[in-house]
């Protein structure tokens, strides 16, 4: 499908119209220093200038706490009730690194012979409209990853890139095409000039990202460094909170727990969990294969840049840099994996 164009005014009108019939989540101000993906009532609430929301768009599909089912014990049986599927949603104004995160965890939730319905159900119900980044932050490193770019469309249904006062809208999936067709009055056809301008935009934005990781070298070093002395000290400043894992667009580990309503009923929930937590691998008898903080710290980086690559041929990271920004003690994932030997 050819690329489309949309003007600023039409984009505003489109988002307002979407907000009337979908749950539209977009970067929204929470207080003076917090912007997160929140439900948009009107376009005015959308904060367009922020690249890195405090938390990711991930939690709009892969909820931090999600009810898997409710149960009620009856005489000689038990009854399960699944929650009704949510409203169709649109995630608007996320960035290419946010969208790429979905692409990464989609694979996990579909592998090993099991499709994870609670995740894929929400995912299929969500259209992702992403905006390319003009001025990447100093913590950004998306260009390190295969195809990664401040103007990359992986994981997005529609990618908007500012060109000549308008937005070039690339319709990247069937879902994106459907949405554009439904609201075709807001779009016009894009010419070759705009498509060329996008390529220029991407080049310029990519050039602004200073840090590019040599992932092949990192993988090689991590393959050999599990027992390295490196891990004995690099973890010391880490306070083992879960901030890095919870603001990450690709961290997917979870826990399954129960919440009782009464003696006979309750709900089974899935909640995000963090490999930084001592409880993560602690077993019922008290045995814990990763008791010390060094092992937990190492696991996070090994998983992202080594183990996941072995299984999925891609890193469990999109280079958004949120973990660098939100780490209370300034641990820099780029440096940790680059220095590992």
């Amino acid at each position: 499908m050819p690329n489309k164009l949309i003007t600023q005014e039409n984009l505003k009108a489109l988002v307002n119209e979407l907000a009337a019939s979908y749950d539209v989540f977009a970067p929204k101000r929470e207080n003076e220093n917090t912007v997160s993906f929140g439900k948009l009532q009107a376009f005015e609430e959308y904060v367009s200038g922020v690249l890195l929301t405090n938390t990711t768009a991930k939690d709009k599909v892969y909820l931090q706490s999600e009810q898997l089912f409710q149960y009620e014990l009856k005489k000689d049986t038990v009854e399960f009730k699944e929650k009704a599927p949510g409203k169709e949603a649109v995630i608007f104004g996320g960035r290419p690194c946010d969208a790429r995160g979905f692409d990464v965890i989609d694979k996990l939730f579909n592998w090993s012979g099991y499709e994870d319905g609670p995740y894929t159900g929400g995912r299929k119900n969500t259209t992702i409209i992403t905006v390319s980044c003009e001025k990447p932050e100093t913590t950004c490193f998306c260009t390190s990853f295969a195809g990664g770019s401040p103007a990359d469309g992986k994981g997005s249904d529609i990618l908007l890139t500012p060109v000549s006062g308008k937005f070039l809208a690339e319709l990247l999936t069937e879902r994106g095409e459907k949405l554009a067709a439904k609201y075709s009055k807001y779009f016009s056809e894009a010419g070759e000039a705009e498509t060329a301008a996008k390529a220029e935009f991407a080049k310029a934005a990519e050039a602004k990202i200073a840090k590019k990781l040599d992932l092949a070298a990192i993988k090689k070093n991590l393959d050999a460094s599990f027992d390295s002395f490196y891990w004995d000290t690099v973890h010391l400043p880490c306070v083992k909170c879960g901030a890095c894992t919870y603001v990450c667009p690709t961290c997917y580990c979870f826990d399954i727990t129960e919440k009782k309503f009464g003696y006979l009923n309750g709900e089974r929930n899935r909640t995000w969990d963090s490999c930084m937590s001592e409880m993560f691998t602690k077993m019922a008898g008290g045995h814990n294969p990763r008791t010390d903080t060094k092992r937990r710290f190492r696991q996070r980086f090994m998983h992202k840049f080594r183990y996941h690559v072995d299984n999925f041929k891609e890193e469990l990271c999109t280079g958004c840099g949120r973990c660098i920004r939100r780490c209370p003690v300034g641990i820099d994932i780029r440096k940790v994996v680059e220095d590992a030997k």
């Binding site: 089912f69 149960y71 014990l73 699944e82 994870d116 319905g117 894929t120 979870f254 399954i256 294969p289």
Partner: protein, 274 residues
């Protein structure tokens, strides 16, 4: 789209108190259709729901050749197991599974089998023991070495006659003996050393506490067993059983999906994180 976290409903059909803190449960799946299609193989595991508390992972204690009920022998160790021990016959629970890989019995055909179990680890090898006894002609000598902390910690006394009747050589040991205990006294690895099993044409299937496994492996290695001849089942904290929740990840493996059955050659390649 299916919700892979919804378990099959089951009722507790029987409970047998094995020791002070171990009970054997028989679970009956409620839905006859599910019951008919619920097939597992020795070595696989299931995830059991105790409503109001949560889920926990257990191995099948009975083999596919005796699959009228789903059986688990469960030691009281944590939240879920404690609640489970409080349940009674007729109470409702639920089961997800079967998950994971199984003991590759096709590879063991024509061999001698040596089972080495310690503590509650016996629950994980009762299934392959009974499977091999039910397909007895496929194997040569079958030897079972089983130890507990004390004679009071030994399970399955009611099964030993049958096992021996099917020509299994059963060696029992207790770390500490007591009056009237006619079997061996000593740690499992020490008894194993004394037994001097021949490595020729023999596969060892072992499960027990980490410290026992460690020394069993040492003894077997000293006896000349190759790592490929020793098979065990790994225990890791698991939540989903489906290769997703990330807990049982060691290196590139997910124990729930790539295991829990591994041979010692595979385990040797893994970092010491289990």
């Amino acid at each position: 789209m299916s919700n892979i976290y919804i378990p099959h409903k089951a009722r507790i059909a029987s409970i047998k108190q094995e020791t002070a803190d171990i009970k054997s449960f028989q679970f009956e799946l409620l839905d006859p259709e599910v019951r008919k299609n619920f097939k597992w193989k020795s070595g696989q595991f299931l995830i059991l729901s105790v409503f109001g508390v949560g889920e926990a992972t257990f191995t099948f204690a009975n083999p596919q050749t005796r699959s009228e009920y789903v059986e688990c022998s469960i030691k009281k160790t944590g939240l879920v197991t404690e609640a489970l021990h409080d349940l009674e016959v007729g109470d409702i629970v639920a089961i997800r599974g079967p998950y994971g890989n199984w003991f590759p019995f096709e590879k063991f055909k024509g061999q001698n089998l040596l089972f080495v179990g310690g503590g509650i680890g016996i629950a994980a090898i009762r299934s392959p023991i009974e499977y091999s006894l039910d397909t007895r002609n496929d194997f040569k000598d079958i030897t079972i070495l089983y130890g507990g902390r004390s004679p009071l910690d030994i399970c399955y006394f009611d099964k030993f006659d049958e096992w021996q009747g099917k020509k299994a050589n059963l060696v029992l040991t207790a770390d500490k003996g007591s009056e009237g205990w006619k079997h061996k006294v000593g740690f499992v690895p020490a008894v194993l050393k004394e037994m001097k099993p021949s490595r020729d044409n023999c596969t060892v299937i072992t499960c027990g506490p980490p410290i026992m496994i460690k020394f069993v492996l040492k003894e077997l290695t000293d006896l000349g067993f190759a790592p490929e001849q020793i098979v065990t089942t790994l225990e890791m904290k698991m939540k989903c059983g489906l290769g997703k929740c990330g807990r049982c990840n060691i290196q590139q493996l997910y124990v729930c999906k790539d295991g829990p059955v591994f041979d010692y050659a595979e385990i040797k390649k893994l970092p010491d994180e289990f």
